[in-house]
Amino acid sequence: MSEDVLQDEQEVQRQNYSEKEKTEIFDSEFMPHVDSMYNFGYRLTFDEDDAKDLVQDTYLKAFRFINSFQRGTNAKAWLFRILKNSFINEFRKKSKQPAKVDYNEVEQFYNSDDAGENITTDLRVETVQHMIGDEISGALNGIPVDFRTVIILSDLEGFTYEEMSKILDIPIGTVRSRLHRARNMLKEKLAGYAKEMGYNKED
């Protein structure tokens, strides 16, 4: 992420923190989110070392551009945005992950008339209750990263649509529709997995 992007995105007056204030902000507003940041990084990269690098890189940038951060505003969203951009702009290029999925294409499919036929509606709550976290996490990891990301931000990190819109640089309406499609994809994955494992059979 370039300095310009970090400055433009906030459209706030550039701060001029003293060294003491920078340390205070870093410790009290940024560091409490390390756990969430690491888990977000891990869920994007699937690799512990890569997640660690991504988080370190994020914090380094956050500190470098700390004057673009307005004290008392949403530090967690600000950090998530930096991490997400680092992942897209730098990390994904050099990582072993497959190329970015064209989510416009996927979204178009899910907008098409045929999509409804393919969206699983018969996934039972009982089926999900039979599954363990590992299986559900595996299903989540199986959906394209742009869709996986909205589920992580909403359902695991509790961001609002507005916050997600800022983190992801997409309109709020797109957040809503992408989240819906992402959840349908996850259900499809879970239904497929349940079928494979025989979880759907009547007890």
């Binding site: 690491y38 512990e48 370190q56 509606t121 999900v128 989540l140 359902d155």
Partner: protein, 97 residues
């Protein structure tokens, strides 16, 4: 008026036939999502609650979606990775703190 007021009205209308029966479950599930995500405004929420208190199919779809969401969230949350012991220290060191 919130961001989704108009969207809610249009979508809600499309979900039901003239007799008031739920005919488009897929669109209704989008409305349910908005409600469960706490993104529906008060007026939309009131319309929604009124409907699920009188329509069995709508209520069933809502409850199913709600339970499914809770179950998935609960299980995903327990699958958090343990943060490396040295990460916080390494971060501080990298910024000279």
């Amino acid at each position: 008026m919130s961001e989704f007021s108009d969207w809610f009205k249009d979508t809600f209308k499309n979900c039901y036939c003239d007799k008031g029966n739920l005919v488009n479950e897929e669109q209704f599930s989008e409305i349910v999502q908005l409600v469960l995500d706490n993104e529906a405004d008060e007026e939309s929420l009131a319309i929604f609650q009124q409907k699920i208190s009188t329509c069995v199919k709508s209520n069933f779809t809502y409850e199913k979606e709600k339970c499914m969401r809770e179950e998935i969230q609960k299980k995903l949350a327990t699958y958090d990775k343990e943060i490396p012991n040295d990460l916080a220290q390494m971060i501080r060191k990298s910024v000279n703190l």
